[in-house]
Amino acid sequence: MAILKEHDLGTGESTSETIVHVEIDGIGINVAAGTSVMRAAALGGIDVPKLCATDRLKAFGSCRLCLVEIKGVRGTPASCTTPVTDGMRIFTQTPRLEKLRRAVMELYISDHPLDCLTCAANGDCELQDMAGTVGLRDVRYGYAGENHLDSSVDESNPYFSFDPSKCIVCSRCVRACEETQGTFALTIAGRGFGSRVATDGKSFFDSECVSCGACVQACPTATLEEKSVISLGVPSRSVITTCGYCGVGCSFKAELRGDEVVRMVPFKDGGANEGHSCVKGRFAWGYATHKDRVLNPMIREAFTDPWREVSWNEAISYAAMRLKDIQGRHGVASIGAITSSRCTDEEVYTVQKMVRTAFGNNNTDTCARVCHSPTGYGLSQAFGTSAGTQDFRSVDYADVILLIGANPTDAHPVFASRMKRRIRNGAKLIVADPRRIDLVRTPHVKAAHHLQMHPGTNVALMNALAHVVVTEGLVNEPFVAERCETESFTIWAEFVARPGNSPETLAPITGVPAEEVRAAARLYASGPNSAIYYGLGVTEHSQGSTMVMALANLAMATGNLGRDGVGVNPLRGQNNVQGSCDMGSFPHEFPGYRHVSDNAVRAIFEQEWGRTLDSEPGLRIPNMFDAAVDGDFKGLFVQGEDIAQSDPNSKHVAAALSSLELLVVQDLFINQTAAFAHVFLPGTSFLEKDGTFINAERRINRVRPAIRARSGKHEWQAVCELATAMGYPMHYDSSSQILDEIARTTPTFSGVSFELLDKVGSVQWPCNEKAPLGTPVMHVGTFVRGKGYFAETPFVGTPERANRRFPLILTTGRILSQYNVGVQTRRTENLRWHDEDVLDIHPFDAEERGISDGSLVAVTSRVGRTSLHVHITDRVPQGVVYTTFHFPGDATNMVTTEYSDWATNCPEYKVTAVEVSPKSAKETNSDADYARNFGHSESLMADSIVRMANQLADIFGYLGEKEGATRIENHIRKFWSPAMRDELVKVAARDRALLAPMSIVAAGKVASL
């Protein structure tokens, strides 16, 4: 494929529905009223010369190259800033215009280096193109006049350079920073000939710049240029693919020379990003060729042995043999697999298929367990679908945005830019977050309300908001009457209206002043279009699922669903969280969220796969760990996830992993988990993959291989070979065939194929005969489940509370330059911005403990301890400390606990009681420490079962013993594996005192099955 040059129409699209007729150089064309003359001409196939105009930015009118003549109009107006009117006759090429354009170019070139042949942008420079287009032959001013040729180059940014001597002051970079990114880091300083692009007197690196790359992309010359282009040359071919970082799912053009990626350029037609990018997707892809990449399979007897490189065949037969052996000795259920949200749908699908066929059980889970599993649970309960309701574009129509537990400017930067644009254009923002995240106050954005709740009190806050809606008559009665279940609404409305849920009653719990809650609730209810966006600050709590349902309740009660500008929108953490969940990674569900006990569904897959399938749920990740420590779970296949670093209570994870007889890790690097592995299968980076990712808006994006698989094998091929070696023949000629199988078996995907995606770019599921081009906005007219369901959402505080020993609450999150456990971003220049996890602490808490800014502290929880450098800041409230988990050496998850969401076991990462104390020397927490520090207890599974069962009793306690026990029973039957249910029955028989009475009743019901 040749290099893909996107046709720039010069100015944006007009939204007018009126069509006007114009004649351009004798060619008649119909365009929307309000379209610029420039765009109209481009649509008619006539590209008017231009330099400052680009269809990604508002018309500016500064270069004066695009002048045209219009019959009946005086002078030579600029075509970029002149809108067409009906009947207009436009001339873009006349001797007069040619003379003027040459005169403009003559001025430009009189202050521009004449080094085209040695310039990095040679062949990719609009100034060069335009000089040719206008026929510039002479610069009569000479080159001895005043100029900027001696300006020095700013090389401070690791990814791009800024050479002001080449700058034509078109302001495209400044405008991109404002309009596209919304950071306002760039400006024009000085005036007249002294006007220069400036970064507030600082270098690019030290400025407010977030390195999103929008300015570099906007630059028509080599002034802002990727360093990779400077060192490698201008790329010669493009492959359109999808970013492998966050759940925004940006489309990129991978631009290559031969087999070498030169740069990643955001793709204008990308449905999720529409041509924008962030520092990670745009620049931090160098890890794909990092020297740490493992490219050959390796095996070893024990994880303490050295690795031995072997052939693919040997590695796969070895793994198959040992897995079969384990099953022979410990039973069919003694092995399982974990799929990755970083892998493609096709890769994930093959793993869960291998588990259900070759392994013969349902012990498959995914890393979404630890992030967005409550989203799946909660939205499925309320609406009938485990996914967000809107497309990203929808935010352009929102009047009020309620942002809860998400920090988009760091974690979802490209969507954050879109959100900021909408807020600059008038939408009101409510931020609910314990921390003062950037969006609370950032250039040209100010939250109307910042609800700064105590960590762990989300549900109480939501109940208070709902209380205001219900008691102040703000319910959208017609919507509720038409779209929702009357009975569940009535029960819910009665529940939230109780005085116990008033903002005044709950203020001492949440810490949010009642008046602020009331004002925010009124604002949200008044809309008219109010949209909820949320992240892991909602899900990673002991009541994560309750919270998701509470969000759904609020949206339904106010009628904010089923159209543009509204909805309940999870911001997914990883590139394919949505897809990995959709693909049946969960132990209780087949692809498309259909329960394994459903005979009709099982029949579909049994016919497709030719095997009898298990009708009982398998183990979830934390249960696998418990069972491993207890000796009942012996073999694990982990695809592309670093559970040793990312999962909570690292000591426990290490103990589990070190108890396994066989751990197979499929990954790019020897990560923390691989330290415990016996078989290492090299994986592929997103630049090598061939398949699909599904982003937070259910958008199925194509991932196309820019370069060949460096390991020689795709993940799905290795998985197929492993399944085959275990006795279940599994083969596909291409990943396209895998998607075809998904479409055959899964109704929401029945219309999807590589062919369709290559044709239309991307689609949002459901994509089937009813919606052949997908479904941008869900639940229009009716909910997937029929009537919307209101769940009661009593607040049950987490047992993890600040106390005398651990008086501070630790909450965790991400920062812009790093990603998740950092395996990728730590192997890029992004380290320049952030090379360790730092603990944010409030000045008062620091002072109380004699802690100074930048010093080393020990962070201790009841489960573990780590050490971090501190940053003293009032972005965190008093009593709350905050850090990230990007660096294994900083071992943040040494301190996070085993507590988790009652419904999904999503870990409670956001609330850990800790103490922080000054410390002198940094302790590193090596892998070996994990194992050494850990001491086994009798039965971890039993401990966990007791905790989980009692948590369910707390959650359902409000229903009374009879109804509560029934709900617990139903829950356990649906989500717990038989082994877990047996364990509960055993505990109930052996040690009743450990269990809540309601749990005992439930255990009795389960036992009598």
Partner: protein
């Protein structure tokens, strides 16, 4: 008790009016005479400042220019009763320079105490607003349209049409009225004198503009170089609020209008209306492309009336009188009066308000009295630094928008700057480019780069370096700047350059400096 008037206008203060006023006060005290000193605006006869007037039975009697050394004898010889004196000018109103004018927008300037609302009302102030408040917005707009009033900032756009556009523009919340008082043209000072001499006139005009267009908020954008005007406007706005001329219930009605002063930061380009809007919004003063017109999407993207100070200050009387009086002045499509400001190398500089159609010769010879140096006039630049340099041959051309456009010149904001025969017009052409280079906002290429190249090219022409080729290049550059610039700054810069070439072409063909004894200085920036 005598009432004495000493101007507080900054042009009078700059030549010692404050000291003169103090000296008169002291002289009166010493003699135990009771005297009221009113610090009025300037009558506009700047060569007579500090002008001292005294109220007599015959009306006001003037003396000037008065220095502090003159005060003692002046008082002793009967200043307070209007007695004769060496500096006596007789009845102010009968001074021919003033008597021959048609003072309309400047009617009250110099007559009243600028900050006395009583004085303002006593002299007919507020009658326009009182009438307007009883009218429908469309009626006010129609009246102004009917009067033929055109924008006095220089562009001459019909004010009524502009107001009509703003009146018709829909808005969710607010519309604005902005008075452009960023009077940056060299040789112009009428806006300043009006603000210092009759601030309520501007305020009243703006409130009427608000009533006419539905605008409820206004700003007076004043250049920072006018500290006295800023102070006077701010005080006057405060007084107007107290009097109920501004605020929530204007003159007891349900109409409202808020007004405040915003101060520029020293940039000429902020006098360009869209750059002024950027500056008012708190941004770098940089020109916006049009469309959208400010009338549709101006300040904060809301419909906005932007008028020059003189335009707005003419409105109260136009409304009070009805359209026909104003319309009866002028010629052709240039109706009403123009406030000319005569300066430069001129014997009698100052403000001359006359109906359109007066000739340039009348202004500079009859009013201006020829050059101050006594040498013959060689060139007159009309309409500010971007206006044309005209030769004596053009002295018979009537001064109105159309006649001046026909000779590639412009009336502009009414500035008239006189040069005698010693002027080097090639250097004046160079100055035009240099001014543009200095004051360009830097947005569009023809202005940002072109002006700098223009200076360089003219330097080469002056130096005799490839003169013919550079004259061709200069014309090409002028063509580009005139046709291709984003705003009037760049597109009008060629006007003085081309007029110098047209009317004073010989100056570009002199012996190069190196070969002359009066070698020109090298350009320094």
């Amino acid at each position: 008790m005598a009432t004495v008037f000493v101007s507080m206008d900054s042009s009078a203060r700059s030549v010692g009016a404050d000291d003169v006023a103090d000296a008169i006060r002291r002289a009166a005290e010493v003699r135990d005479l009771s005297v009221t000193i009113v610090r009025n605006g300037s009558r506009g006869m700047l060569w007579l400042e500090p002008l001292v007037e005294v109220e007599t039975e015959r009306g006001r009697v003037a003396y000037g220019p008065v220095t502090i050394q003159d005060v003692e004898t002046l008082v002793d010889e009967g200043l307070f009763v209007g007695a004769d004196h060496r500096l006596s000018l007789g009845s102010t109103e009968e001074i021919p320079w003033l008597a021959r004018q048609t003072r309309y927008s400047f009617e009250l300037v110099g007559l009243i105490d600028p900050l006395s609302p009583e004085d303002y009302e006593a002299h007919g102030g507020l009658s326009g607003l009182r009438k307007a408040i009883t009218m429908q917005p469309a009626e006010i707009v129609e009246l102004v349209t009917e009067s033929g009033l055109r924008g006095r900032g220089g562009a001459g756009f019909p004010t009524g049409i502009k107001w009509e556009t703003v009146l018709a523009a829909p808005t969710e919340d607010v519309k604005f009225v902005c008075a452009n008082a960023d009077e940056g043209d060299s040789g112009t000072f009428a806006d300043r004198m009006l603000m210092e001499g009759n601030p309520f006139g501007l305020i009243e005009g703006m409130v009427i503009a608000g009533l006419a267009t539905g605008a409820t908020e206004g700003f007076v954008y004043v250049r920072s170089e006018y500290p006295d005007a800023i102070a006077t406007m701010r005080t006057a706005i405060g007084v107007a609020h107290l009097r109920g001329w501004l605020g929530l219930n204007i003159l007891g009605s349900h109409e409202r209008f808020e007004l405040s002063v915003r101060v520029g930061a020293g940039s000429y380009i902020c006098g360009e209306e869209t750059a002024m809007l950027e500056s008012l919004e708190g941004r770098r003063g940089m020109v916006r492309a049009k469309p959208p017109l400010p009338a549709h999407a101006g300040l904060f993207e809301r419909p906005t009336v932007i008028n020059n100070v003189l335009t707005l200050a003419s409105v109260p009387r136009i409304v009070a009188d009805g359209p026909s009086v104003y319309r009866s002045f002028g010629v052709g499509r240039s109706r009403g009066t123009q406030v000319f400001q005569i300066g430069g190398n001129v014997a009698r500089g100052g403000v001359v308000e006359l109906p359109f159609g007066v000739t340039l010769g009348t202004l500079v010879n009859d009013f201006g009295g020829g050059t101050r140096s006594g040498r013959p006039i060689r060139a007159v630049q009309v309409g500010g630094p971007l206006g044309a340099y005209l030769p004596v041959a053009a002295f018979d051309v009537p001064m109105d928008y159309e006649s001046f456009a026909a000779i590639d010149a412009m009336v502009g904001h009414g500035g008239v700057v006189v040069f005698d025969e010693t002027v080097d017009m090639a250097r004046q052409a160079r100055f035009a480019m240099e001014f543009c280079a200095e004051e360009s906002c830097g947005k569009c290429t023809p202005c940002r780069v072109g002006a700098v190249r223009g200076v360089e090219v003219i330097d080469r022409i002056i130096a005799g370096d490839h003169r013919e080729a550079n004259l061709v290049l200069l014309e090409d550059l002028c063509d580009l700047m005139a046709s291709g610039s984003l705003c009037a700054m760049g597109s009008l810069t060629p006007m003085p350059v081309r007029s110098a070439l047209t009317h004073f072409g010989n100056d570009f063909h002199r012996l190069p400096a190196a070969l002359r004894s009066d070698a020109s200085e090298p350009r320094s920036r």
